[in-house]
């Protein structure tokens, strides 16, 4: 398949050239932040780092981290690096988990953000001949404005439908022949179902690609959406703190998302020690904005757990790839010195044909961590032979060991016996903390 790039020079840049570019930008950005953001200057002073210590990307690790808590403390203007008169827009998170994040943009910030989205649309096969339906919410949420701007930059005919009103979505989609759909994966799945109910077959609509993000989704969901809409479904990643969607995007290979690392430098760190981990390690994703003027976060801890890879990609892009985030640091457990995420256990259960009804019990006996995973037996797998049950437990323990690197004791338990609190299953019981 012929590859199109929105900014070929950057997207296929030789790695050493990219590093030089990033280094140059970082030096400039650290100065800009140090001079204009008192909050971050204090953090740097406390760490004994000055802009003079930063000569390139290799010095990035010397800089202090920013966390969600810092964003809360500095709300609303504490991290602003430009006078308000130079800012032209804000975007904001919903604030469902704690105080909302409000990010500021200069016109240049918006331009670069829209470029990132344009790269994503182009990687999904979009050109100026396409009709791009944006069914992400417009407003404070970054989804709608980001993809809308990217679609303009590519030159697509943009249908700014925003989210909701599915009947109207489908009417525009069919009447105006939308070829690209941008929305959350769950909404894409819903549109697919609605089309089917209305008697449309995938081949009746000209849609060819979808760009879906802003919420976690599985490969299984991807296949479902691709089938029901007759399209290729591409993942996109971003967060309001750094700009919005388009921080990373998927290409035709669909094996991870290329990070727009000329604007956002990605690191993986050990969430416990803060130490930078080598390529291929699983850890917390940290972003440094290299170009943002108004709201330039340095070493922002996303709390997303993920892996970076510089393996050669068949699409020709040299931009580093990030895997789909596999969990949040908030949920992380350290068992026998190994990081374990409940989401990994869930993945294994689904792969092995179980429902994700499970409970992790961790305890410490004679200074050793015990690690038990209780899993509800399903009617499909239940058998009358004890030897079968024992074999199933063993096989599941083996699959978990492969994923996690440590050996759990698996116990199959009768359905609905996993403790629930207010209807929600309690996933983790860590008895070590009770001591």
């Amino acid at each position: 398949m012929a590859q199109n790039y929105y900014q070929k020079e950057i997207e296929t840049m030789a790695p050493e050239e990219m590093r030089a570019l990033q280094s140059e930008k970082l030096v400039r950005q650290v100065k800009h932040v140090y001079e204009n953001v008192a909050y971050y200057r204090d953090l740097m002073d406390k760490k004994g780092v000055t802009p003079d210590d930063i000569h390139g990307i290799e010095d990035l690790h010397k800089l202090p981290f920013l966390s969600k808590a810092d964003l809360r403390d500095a709300y609303p203007y504490g991290l602003l690096a430009k006078p308000l008169e130079d800012c032209v827009r804000i975007q904001s998170t919903s604030g469902t988990t704690g105080r909302r994040v409000v990010a500021f943009y200069t016109q240049k910030d918006i331009d670069l953000w829209e470029d990132c989205c344009a790269r994503a649309i182009t990687a999904a096969g979009g050109t100026k001949k396409d009709v791009c339906q944006v069914a992400y919410g417009y407003g404070l949420f970054t989804g709608g404005p980001g993809l809308n701007g990217g679609s303009h930059k590519v030159g697509c005919l943009t249908l700014p439908l925003s989210s909701g009103n599915t009947e109207r979505q489908i009417q525009f989609m069919t009447d105006l022949g939308a070829t690209i759909l941008c929305c959350t994966p769950s909404y894409a799945a819903y549109i697919g179902e609605s089309l089917k109910e209305m008697g449309y077959k995938p081949e009746d609509i000209p849609l060819k690609a979808g760009i879906f993000g802003a919420e976690p989704w599985t490969e299984e969901m991807r296949r479902g959406i691709e089938e029901s809409l007759g399209i290729k479904a591409y993942d996109i990643y971003g967060l309001t703190e750094t700009s919005g969607p388009g921080v990373a995007f998927e290409c035709s290979e669909q094996t991870g998302m290329h990070v727009n690392e000329d604007h956002f430098y990605a690191e993986i760190i050990d969430p416990e020690t803060g130490e930078v981990l080598p390529e291929g390690s699983k850890g917390e994703l940290v972003f440094t904005s290299l170009d943002k003027e108004a709201f330039p976060l340095l070493r922002y801890r996303t709390r997303d757990i993920c892996v970076l890879s510089r393996k050669k990609c068949s699409c020709g892009r040299t931009l580093v790839k990030m895997a789909k985030p596999m969990g949040r640091t908030d949920d992380m457990l350290i068992i026998r010195g190994v990081n374990v995420f409940p989401s990994q256990i869930e993945t294994v259960l689904l792969n092995e044909g179980y429902q994700p009804n499970y409970q992790i019990v961790v305890d410490r006996v004679k200074n050793n961590d015990t690690f038990d995973v209780n899993v509800e037996m399903t009617p499909e797998t239940f058998t009358d032979k004890v030897s079968d049950v024992v074999a199933m437990e063993k096989s599941l323990a083996g699959a978990l060991k492969t994923m996690l690197g440590i050996n759990p004791a698996v116990h199959l338990v009768p359905p609905k016996t996993i403790v629930r609190s207010e209807g929600k299953a309690v996933r983790v019981i860590d008895k070590r903390k009770l001591v």
């Binding site: 009358d384 004890v386 338990v413």
Partner: protein
């Protein structure tokens, strides 16, 4: 020809078995035979009852994981050597018995053997060929 066995998945903790048998007796279901296989964590109850439909409904309604399977039922004289004889017949025919349990009837001077094998039809044919009398669900409900 085979008879129905109710298999119930329970946790291996005190009271698990009693909860099941209580439910059944309250619903008027009579237990003919009961066998338990267990590991450290779990128990698998195998039940032969006079009314397997009601038993299945009541236990399912109460949230139990149930599986009904066909097993072979054989009537044997309550005399020494009869059990060994039945098993040897199967062994000679190369039929592997996964598990078995026996129960006595209240009135007759007979014992009943419940056999779990891979191929019920094969087991039934060699047993009846050797002169053993097989039992059905209808026989069970009359016991």
């Amino acid at each position: 020809m085979a008879i129905k066995q109710l298999t119930v998945f329970v946790q291996n903790k005190r009271g698990s078995v009693v909860s099941v048998t209580d439910l059944l007796s309250q619903s008027g279901v009579d237990l003919r035979a009961l066998s338990i296989a267990e590991t450290q964590d779990l128990g698998i109850l195998r039940l032969i009852v006079n009314d397997e439909k009601t038993a299945e409904r009541v236990l399912t309604e109460n949230g139990y994981l149930i599986k009904v399977i066909d097993v072979v039922g054989v009537k044997i004289a309550d005399a020494p050597g009869k059990l060994t004889e039945a098993l040897s017949v199967l062994d000679r025919a190369d039929i592997n018995v996964e598990y078995l349990y026996a129960f006595l009837a209240r009135t007759e001077r007979h014992a009943y053997l419940v056999l779990r094998v891979e191929d019920n039809a094969a087991a039934e044919s060699v047993l009846s060929g050797a002169g053993f009398k097989l039992i059905t669900d209808a026989d069970i409900s009359k016991l």
